[in-house]
Every structure is written in C-alpha cells, then in structure tokens.
C-alpha cells in the first residue's frame, strides 16, 4: 500500500482504574484532542467508526449515545464490536473506497463499570464451557501458556521477564495505569498467583479509557504535518480455543504474512524498527515474536533473552509498556497503533526509541487471541 492512507492525528485519555467520569466525556476528550492534533474540525469528518461493546457498556446499540461525543451527528457512522484496531480497518476500507477523505476512529470502555473478567466468560460456548465455569480469559490464557511452555521450553521466569520489561517501559509513558520502574522477573514472580503460570503482574490490567485516531486519504494527508502512512494491513481468524493447536498464534502469523506482502517486508526482524504488540498476557508477547517472524518457531524465549526487544535493542517491543501498562477493552489494540505512529513521528517523549522509520502495530480479539490484526506504518 503506497501513500493511500495516513494517520494524521490521534489522542489517548489517561488510562485509569476509575476515570470518575462518564464514557461520553471520555470519548469527547479523545475525539476533540485527536481532531485538534490533526488540525481539523468536526465539520471536516466524512466518516466515523466507533469501537465499543454492548456488554461492556451495559446497554444494547451502545454507540447510540456516542453520536454527540464521536462527532457523528448526521454523519456517516458505524460501529465495530471488537478492538479499535479492527475499527481502523473498517475506516481504512472506507477511505480506500475513494468516497471519503477523513475518517475518525474512536474506542472506549470502562472496566470500572463492568464486572472484571465476566464479559470474557460470555464469549465462551454457552451450552457447555460457560456453564461449567472453569474457562475464562485468564484460565484460557494459562492453558495456552502451558501448551506454549511445553512445546518451546520457555520458563515462567522468561514470561515474568517480559512483563517486567513492559512494566519498566510503562514508567516512561505518562498515560499508563500500571508501571514498575526497574522491575525484574523476581518482582513479577512474587505477585499473586492466579492460574499457573499466570500471576497478577503477567496479566494486562483492565481499566477505563478512550483513544481516537484521524485517518486521511493520500490526497488529504499530503497537506497534513508528519503523516504516518499505512503500508500494509493483514488480519485473520482462527478456531475456538479448544479446537486449535494452542502452542502457536497461527492467525497472527497469517495476518502478518498478508500485511508484510502489502508493505514489502521480506525480513521482519531487520526491516521493522519497533513493534507495539497487544499482549493481554505476557507469554503472548513471546508467542507474537514467532508469529510476526521476528525469530523462528518456538524461539521467542531465546529472542527475548538476546535483549533485542528491550528499549535499547534492535527491535524494541512495547516501548510504551504495551497492554501491561494499560489494557482498555476495545481500545488497547488501537492504542498500539497510536503508540507505533508516535514512534514513527518521533513524538513519544520519554519512551521514544531511536531511529524508528518503520513500525508494526498489533491488535487482537477473543479468548487466547483467536483473531488478530497487524499494521505496518511508515513515515515519509
């Protein structure tokens, strides 16, 4: 994809355990700031895509009252009931249709409002798995981690090390909910055990927050300051968690393959300068190194140990702290795209990595990362 669509503005609210305000005001805060960053007004918007979830918002058609804060009054608006990274895909297709020049994507949820990990249980097969009350997003992730560790030889300490890296990086991100400057694997290993091997600090913290992004056609982006071009996008869906091999993220691998083909990426480890991956659990980041082709199959632990993905490594992963810093449902994947765009622009402040020209962003939806989406972004 060559200069067909670019990110020209974005904003994130702080991510908090309790934002102490309505979701409408959270969305307004994000959308107004994103438009201001793009130098645009509501009147300039051609199309709007929101990412939110009826169950999380506690109402059906939950975008209904987002007409006002999303700027969509009497405009072309629709909703994606998945992560905002998929809402961006929808906006991108509208831009590529040639009918629209400016799209706004906004994602929100408030974990302070809904019941912790209950919504994940509602995703399960209702006639058996849900009723038996054993599976949920955390126990599902733990089962995946066990299969991955058995196949790869990755240790609990290596998984804890990933969490520690991201929580340390999050200390440089003023919007993060959770950060632990100087954290090490031992600190993570000492946190509360949940479902082995997963402990509290290996699980991305759910929170309140909103984030928004302005996407422009090539024509409109040419007039913008520091456009961040979408070079490629790929996405894929896999089977339900009990019906697929859990030791590898096959749908992420497929997503990366089609994204790389569009973006002209032949050797991801050398051509990508930085990645923001949506790791809802620390082991998913190791698995993503493999699926994204940063290293060979089952080599995620060794690749992490090489230091390549640390802030000063050759391919920093989650310089922002990733989802370990803040995991807003519906928004954490879109936040990865925003963070990757910030890095390409050199606007990431204290968590800016050096020399980022090409960045990758990943979003996911579903238990054990059933569905994945990958973007490659680049500057001029």
């Amino acid at each position: 994809m060559e200069k067909e669509a670019a990110i020209i503005g974005y904003a994130q609210t702080p991510y908090e355990a309790d934002s102490n305000c309505s979701r409408e005001l959270l969305v307004l805060q994000a959308t107004r700031a994103a438009l201001e960053a793009a130098g645009l007004k509501r009147e300039d918007l051609d199309t709007i895509v929101t990412a939110n979830n009826d169950y999380l918002d506690g109402r059906t058609i939950s975008n209904m009252r987002l007409v006002e804060p999303a700027g969509s009054w009497r405009k072309n608006e629709s909703k994606v009931e998945m992560d905002g990274a998929f809402a961006l895909l929808y906006a991108l297709t509208r831009i590529l249709s040639g009918d629209h020049d400016i799209a706004l994507v906004v994602a929100e949820s408030q974990a302070s409002v809904y019941g912790g990990i209950l919504p994940g249980i509602m995703m399960l097969d209702p006639t058996f798995d849900r009723q038996r009350w054993l599976l949920n997003e955390v126990s599902g992730a733990a089962l995946q981690a066990s299969a991955y560790m058995d196949a790869s030889g990755v240790s609990e300490e290596q998984i804890a090390g990933v969490a520690a890296k991201n929580l340390d990086n999050a200390a440089g991100n003023p919007l993060a909910l959770r950060s632990l400057p100087g954290a090490d694997a031992a600190k993570v290993m000492a946190s509360r055990p949940l479902y082995s091997p997963i402990r509290d600090l290996m699980m991305a913290p759910l929170c309140d927050g909103a984030c928004a992004l302005v996407l422009a056609s090539g024509k409109a982006a040419a007039k913008a300051e520091k456009p961040v071009w979408i070079k490629g996008v790929g996405f894929a869906h896999d089977s339900y968690l009990t019906e697929r091999p859990l030791e590898s993220m096959n749908s992420l691998k497929l997503a990366a393959g089609s994204c790389y083909a569009q973006a002209g990426i032949e050797d991801a480890a050398s051509q990508i300068d930085l990645a923001e991956v949506h790791e809802r659990f620390a082991h998913e980041e190791l698995m993503s190194y493999e699926a994204l082709g940063f290293c060979g199959p089952l080599q995620g632990g060794a690749f992490f140990d090489s230091g390549a993905t640390r802030m000063d490594g050759k391919l920093p992963v989650n310089a922002s702290g990733g989802a370990m810093g803040a995991n807003v449902d519906c928004g954490a994947g879109l936040a990865r795209v925003i963070e990757a765009a910030m890095q390409v622009r050199g606007d990431a402040g204290k968590h800016q990595a050096k020399g980022v020209k090409t960045a990758l962003a990943h979003g996911q939806t579903g238990i054990c990362a059933q569905e994945n989406i990958v973007y490659v972004l680049g500057g001029e």
């Binding site: 609210t13 702080p14 309790d18 934002s19 102490n20 305000c21 309505s22 005001l25 959270l26 307004l28 805060q29 107004r32 506690g58 109402r59 809904y114 019941g115 912790g116 990990i117 209950l118 249980i121 097969d125 209702p126 006639t127 058996f128 798995d129 009723q131 038996r132 009350w133 054993l134 599976l135 949920n136 955390v138 126990s139 733990a142 089962l143 995946q144 981690a145 066990s146 299969a147 058995d150 509360r192 055990p193 949940l194 479902y195 082995s196 091997p197 997963i198 089977s239 009990t242 019906e243 859990l246």
Partner: protein, 153 residues
Amino acid sequence: MGAKAAKDPVPRVSIPLNPVFGWTVGNWMENFFDGMKEGKILGSRCPDCGRVFLPPRMICERCFAKADEWVELPATGTVQACTEAAVKVAENGDMVDLENPEIIAMVKHDGADTCITARLEGADASIGMRVEAVLNPGAENVLDLLAAYRPMG
C-alpha cells in the same frame, strides 16, 4: 475537560441487566449428553476430512461442511494443556482465592481431534499425562455427567 473536573467520586448505582436467553443446547450437545447418560462418549465427525469433534460440533470450519457423523470414543485421553487454579471467578467478576488449588486441563480423547476442558483430580498434572473420564451417568444436571478426569494407572 470533564474527565478531571470532578473532585468527588461520581455516585454509583447498581443497574441490573439480567437477560435470560432460552437456548436449546442443540441436537449435537443433546446427543452428547444423552450418550453420557448411558456411559457413552459421543463425538461428531466431519464426513469430508474425518476430524472428530469432542464436545461434538455441528460444523467443520476447515471443510465448511456439516459434521454429522457420530463416533463413540473411549474414556481415555491425553492432557494437552493444564493449569493450577489458585483462584476462581466470583459472580461479580472478581478472582477470589481458592482454599485448595485445583487443576484444570484440556483433554483430547483418544480418537478425537479437539479438547474438552474439565477438572483433573489430584494435585499434579503435566502435558502428555494419560487420563480417563470420570462419568456420572446418574447426575441430575447434564453438566455433571462428565464429573472430571483422573490420572490413569
């Protein structure tokens, strides 16, 4: 803007949303439960690729076809994934500590291609462990027909 303007916590009210859905379990799960009442473990098989689903599924996603053949499977299988649960999820969504940790396992029955998630008796579990289903054919609630798995031998 608004987010930071308020100093006092926003008042909270609990607003119940308790929709009740009247699903049937469907013919496939009904067969599965009816089988277990007679001590039989029934899976569905895709006629095109031969994959065997347990619990039975109606559709093979790989062949884009109805998995409408039935096979009786042995009670034995192998652990594919396992976790020691130190917590359980309470009705309000909080994870609360269990007094006694329990093992949750994904088990692939011999002859099946997919997994059942269930409790595994005992304190130790590892991937590759041979286990057998503990059936409870007289259970009143169909969900209790497959009580757990236990290590073999």
